[in-house]
């Protein structure tokens, strides 16, 4: 969940919550390039401190708590789920009391199987308790959706957690465990989004082990698998000439993780960013001209052509894989719409992950 994702999510949070925009489209993304006047700037060299940084940073314009999980049920069938809480500040400055609070919150939840993709969204204003995040004990919530820690929750691993959400035709309740600390993305948590200084603060917990129940149309099944959580906040994540992004979170064999994204520019150029995470939690930026992301197959949804299958090549890391979606129609038809779904990959490495496509 790189910067692009941030910008898109940010955007999604802001625009969707406040405009209920049905088709924000590309110009919507361009809006992410607005100046950050009055909001706190993102600068290199930040020292992350937990649990404080698990909580909200209201002085920044946008922020999210973003979790995706690759699961299998008792019969071995693959499925995936998403749980996201977005925060957007409508105005900078001191935090208003009660309804005068300027934060707007948006929740997205989805479940995906080969034959179906269900999603739901929620909106709330800050200041009264309908939605929010607290660092200790950790809880992120909107309405009855929540990601909740307990007395046992370790500030370094952000685990264990319980997670639940429901829509009109699905619901899930899971527990998340992790035995490794969170991982800083980009350069020690400073994630650059353009040559002109747009950036975000970004860390992840890619090592979650998940267990729980997932229900579609009132048919509960037990599921288990792995999950990846992204935490990101910024005030100006995208530059005006960036139109969208393609983002990957990949669970490689032997507990290696790969976060990878491509920022597309309006002039057709693109930038590839990412971090390779080793099993011991070390995170290094991958930046080499030979790295490439190539669309292999397109899926048409609502008149948009979306690259849902990819070839990923990182010669420096000896990685050459092809990805395939679990369900090519994992479209989030929410106020701010995008594609987000579980994928699997084969090649030099085999495994599962999540793909997000925005700005199409």
């Amino acid at each position: 969940m790189s910067a692009e994702r941030i910008s898109r999510r940010t955007f999604a949070g802001g625009i969707a919550a406040f405009a209920f925009a049905r088709r924000a489209g590309a110009q919507g993304y361009a809006g992410l390039g607005d100046t950050a006047d009055g909001f706190a700037p993102v600068t290199p060299g930040k020292v992350f401190a937990f649990p404080g940084d698990h909580g909200p940073h209201p002085e920044f314009r946008i922020e999210w708590w973003y979790l995706t999980a690759n699961l299998t049920d008792a019969s071995g069938a693959a499925c995936g789920l998403q749980w996201t809480l977005f925060r957007q500040a409508t105005q900078p400055g001191p935090q208003g009391e009660g309804w005068a609070n300027q934060q707007v919150w948006m929740g997205h939840a989805a479940v995906t199987r080969t034959d179906t993709h269900r999603f739901s969204e929620l909106f709330a204003r800050g200041g009264v308790g309908q939605a929010g995040v607290e660092a200790k004990p950790f809880i992120a919530w909107i309405d009855d959706w929540e990601m909740r820690g307990s007395e046992r929750t370790d500030d370094r691993t952000l685990a264990p957690l319980t997670l639940r959400a429901s829509g009109i035709d699905f619901s899930y309740a899971l527990t998340l465990e992790a035995n490794r600390p969170v991982v800083l993305q980009g350069d020690a948590g400073y994630s650059r989004k353009s040559e002109r200084g747009q950036a975000s603060y970004y860390y992840s917990q890619p090592f979650f082990r998940v267990r729980g129940t997932l229900s579609i149309d009132d048919k509960p099944v037990n599921v288990s698998g792995q999950a990846w959580m992204d935490r990101e906040w910024s005030s100006q994540p995208l530059s005006p000439d960036q139109s969208g992004w393609d983002w990957f979170s990949l669970h490689l064999p032997d507990d290696e993780k790969l976060m990878l994204y491509r920022l597309r520019q309006k002039d057709g150029r693109e930038n590839l960013f990412g971090n390779w995470i080793t099993p011991d939690g070390r995170s290094v930026e991958i930046a080499a001209p030979a790295n490439s992301l190539t669309p292999l197959a397109m899926t048409e949804i609502d008149g948009r052509k979306l690259p849902t299958s990819w070839r990923v090549s990182l010669p420096g890391h000896g990685l050459a894989i092809e990805t395939a979606p679990l369900n090519p129609r994992s479209w989030m038809g929410t106020g701010f719409s995008y594609w987000e779904g579980p994928i699997s990959f084969t090649g030099t490495h085999n495994g599962v992950g999540y793909l997000e496509l925005t700005g199409y």
Binding site: F20, G98, A100, L122, V128, G129, D144, S166, I168
Partner: protein
């Protein structure tokens, strides 16, 4: 096709020769369409307004959660419910004083506001940010902006001194409502963290049971298909519709007589066309096409007239609805496409129905039969018997409805049946009167006068029926309005007991005013009132605090009371109930009503019933001290003063100067009374206007019937002229005949009108407004109406009679030359 056009041209040539007949036909169709469509336009406008009001940001069209005592509650319950999965959105409602107007302030939370609240105005994308982010917005209707005399973008202060967010017009909004963000509303109403109700949206998942989340602190109120307002105003619109329908039928009478005569006169033409080889089917098709085209043209003109009628009446209708029910109707007429189509449709349908008998006769016409002009009058006797039998059947229906009917519709049913029966039986009545006259007549001219009047009857009967109906309705409505007017003024004299009325802006000012008044020698008594609002059996009820003062005991009118009602009121466990509420709740003296109060249920013995005309809300009158004990939040801002008459202007001026009160905040009894009577008069303005319209249409019906008759009557008149009766004498006889049958009709209309008035007062009013008036007859008014009817008949008869008086002798001679 060409042949059809020729046939059409031949048929149309008839109208060229009979321009007056053509005008009559068009006038009938236009009149029928115009009044009907006008009334429909008004009803549609009102219904749209109710719909808008009902749907305004989650009105009664949305399910909601409220506190059992209808009080505000903590927004923590909102958060609790949201976190249990309840898709609720908070609303805080209250009233604020702005530029001297009392406005409804609605605080909403746009992010959670259910998207499916009827046709509520929606906030667009960028609007939402502007609405919520400081300084925010106050959404108002255009009408409200004009009422307040404020410009868009200004931020006027309310009476507490706090400023509203800048005003912004939202076109769909109902008038007299200020919509702000809930946080702003909490600040303006000084209710931090409080909400009035929670709107329930579409669930997202499966929320926990309500009880398990909030216990019994909140209860669910299901959305209602029909609002209280719609239920109350139904009767009013039914009333208008009845008037529209009456005019429609009167218009169709005109069409029927015009078409009937035209077809009779065109029978030879039709036969000639058939003889020339035009097929029966073609001739009949062209006849229908002709009629439909005429109906379309007349319908369009009628719609335009209807639009103007509606636009002219709308302000009065709006005033009536506001005065009677507190309903807000925009004064600007907006019409939908359906209205135009429905209007054209009803014009065509009406024309076809009115012409049906003539069309059928033309279709069945044997090609070689000889013409029998005026044959339609010859079966008169048989018709009279049939019609009278039908009238008896209709009267039976009226009696049945009167005996067993319960609803408002049944009340109107009685009215309709009575009038229809009376109209049907009218020709028979007139026949009997004329026959009696004929039997007693001496001399050939007098004998001819009566016999010819009888012979004319069938040709005039439709017009006379129209006149009868219009007059009867006139008598009925005038009697009702006059009765109401007298009762109302008498009642007002009792109700407005104090000499000066003061409405302070808040409690602090009220206390200051009271202290100041204590030192004024001319003030003989300071009476404090108070009002609180609550709900009884799901209905909004006003609690009215009465001061314990001898003046009230003397003047306050009670319709019905237990012994020593005023003494029983003092301890605070008894109440008077308004007539309409007592009917609605079906409680009377001796019953007990339980009122939810902040401190728990308040049981009140009903010890009296009083009239409360013009109040849309049900009311309970209690002792004011008891009211304040039970409802401590009651604003004590209303003060009444007893002051010697001559000291009133000085005192008012001093009050205004001392406390900078405007004219709305301090008024003397005479001003308040004049204002009440003005509102009352406007309430019935629309009824009177429709009344006059109907009478006018009946006059046109009479005129057109006489005109059509005049031409065909030459064969009857020519022999009289030939035997030496001069033309002026003939004209005078004709005039006398018309006036006498009109007089008989008018005299018959009087008892019918009184029965109509009784139905209106004893059945319709009670169902519609909840009050029953004493029944009075006003003889002067009746005489006036008879005179108006005769005048209408005179005017209608004048034109044909004048023509007869000036007719060339050659025309009269031609009758003999052309006789077949």
């Amino acid at each position: 096709m060409r042949r059809a056009l020729w046939v059409l041209a031949v048929l149309l040539s008839h109208w060229r020769r009979h321009k007056m007949q053509f005008a009559t036909l068009l006038i009938g169709l236009i009149a029928a369409t115009a009044l009907w469509s006008g009334v429909q336009a008004i009803n549609q406008q009102a219904r749209n307004a109710y719909d808008r009001a009902a749907a305004t940001f989650g009105g009664v069209r949305t399910a909601m959660l409220v506190a059992p005592n209808a009080a505000t509650f903590s927004q923590d319950l909102f958060v609790k419910l949201r976190r249990a999965g309840w898709p609720v959105s908070p609303v805080l409602e209250g009233r604020v004083q702005l530029n001297g107007h009392s406005m409804r302030l609605l605080g909403i939370e746009p992010v959670t506001l259910p998207a499916d609240v009827g046709n509520a105005p929606r906030l667009g994308a960028a609007d939402l940010t502007r609405f919520v982010a400081p300084p925010g917005q106050t959404l108002v209707a255009q009408e409200t902006l004009i009422d307040l005399q404020e410009a868009e973008g200004t931020a006027p202060p309310i009476s507490s001194g706090a400023k509203l967010p800048p005003l912004h017009v939202l076109p769909q909004l109902v008038p007299d409502v200020l919509v702000v963000d809930i946080g702003v509303a909490q600040r303006l109403l000084n209710k931090p963290g409080q909400v009035s109700r929670l709107l329930i949206g579409k669930p997202n998942g499966r929320p926990a049971p309500l009880q398990s989340v909030v216990g019994d602190q909140l209860q669910r109120v299901e959305p209602t298909a029909e609002t209280e307002l719609e239920r109350l105003t139904d009767s009013f619109h039914l009333n208008l519709t009845a008037f529209g329908l009456l005019s429609f039928f009167v218009g169709l009478f005109i069409v029927n007589s015009a078409v009937g005569l035209a077809f009779e006169q065109r029978l030879p033409m039709l036969r000639t066309l058939r003889a020339c080889g035009a097929s029966a089917r073609m001739v009949n098709t062209v006849l229908v096409v002709e009629l439909v085209v005429l109906a379309l043209i007349a319908g369009l003109i009628g719609l335009v007239c209807g639009y103007f009628i509606a636009a002219a009446l709308l302000p009065d209708v709006a005033a009536s609805l506001r005065g009677l029910y507190g309903a807000q109707i925009p004064g600007q007429l907006t019409l939908h496409a359906e209205w135009w189509f429905a209007g054209i449709g009803i014009s065509v349908a009406g024309a076809v129905v009115a012409a049906a008998t003539s069309l059928i006769k033309a279709i069945r016409m044997p090609v070689l039969a000889t013409a029998q002009p005026r044959a339609w009058q010859q079966a008169q006797h048989r018709w009279l018997i049939l019609q009278s039998a039908a009238a008896c059947a209709v009267f039976a229906v009226a009696l049945f409805l009167l005996r067993y009917g319960e609803s408002l519709i049944a009340g109107f049913g009685v009215l309709a049946a009575l009038m229809l029966g009376a109209a049907l039986i009218l020709p028979a009545f007139l026949e009997i009167i004329l026959l009696a006259g004929q039997r007693r007549a001496r001399g050939p001219v007098a004998l001819w006068f009566w016999a010819d009047s009888r012979q004319q009857l069938s040709g005039l009967s439709l017009a006379l029926m129209a006149l009868l109906l219009a007059l009867a309705v006139n008598v009925g409505v005038s009697t009702m309005v006059e009765t109401f007017s007298r009762t109302f003024i008498g009642w007002l004299n009792g109700r407005l007991a104090a000499d000066v009325y003061i409405s302070a802006s808040d409690n602090a000012q009220a206390i200051a005013i009271r202290n100041w008044l204590k030192d004024r020698g001319e003030v003989q008594a300071i009476l404090s009132g108070g009002r609180a609002e609550t709900q009884v059996q799901g209905q909004p009820v006003e609690l009215f605090g009465l001061p314990d003062h001898a003046l009230y005991r003397e003047l306050w009118p009670l319709l019905e009371a237990a012994p020593r009602p005023w003494t029983r009121l003092v301890p605070g466990n008894a109440a008077f109930i308004s007539e309409q509420l007592s009917r609605r709740l079906n409680v009377g003296v001796g019953d007990v009503v339980e009122v939810p109060a902040p401190g728990g249920p308040w049981e009140l013995d009903i010890v009296g019933i009083y009239a409360d005309y013009g109040n849309p809300k049900g009311q309970l009158a209690v002792n004011v001290a008891a009211l304040i004990r039970q409802f401590p939040q009651t604003p004590q801002t209303r003060i009444g003063l007893i002051v010697p008459r001559e000291k009133i202007p000085g005192l008012i001026a001093a009050l205004q100067k001392q406390f900078s009160l405007d004219e709305r905040s301090v008024a003397d009894q005479a001003t308040v009374k004049a204002e009440s009577i003005r509102i009352f008069n406007r309430t019935f303005a629309v009824t009177s206007a429709l009344n006059a319209f109907t009478l006018g249409v009946a006059g046109i019906a009479l005129l057109t019937s006489l005109l059509t008759l005049a031409n065909s009557r030459l064969p009857q008149l020519a022999p009289l002229w030939a035997i030496g009766i001069t033309r002026p004498r003939l004209a005078a006889i004709e005039l006398t005949k018309t006036l006498s049958v009109s007089l008989f009709t008018a005299l018959l209309a009087l008892p019918l009108g009184l029965v109509v008035a009784w139905c209106l007062i004893a059945i319709v009013n009670v169902k519609a407004f909840g009050w029953r008036l004493p029944f009075h007859v006003f003889p002067l008014q009746l005489i006036e109406l008879v005179a108006v009817a005769l005048l209408a008949a005179l005017l209608a008869a004048l034109l044909p009679v004048a023509r007869l008086a000036r007719m060339q002798p050659t025309d009269l001679v031609k009758v003999f030359a052309n006789e077949r």
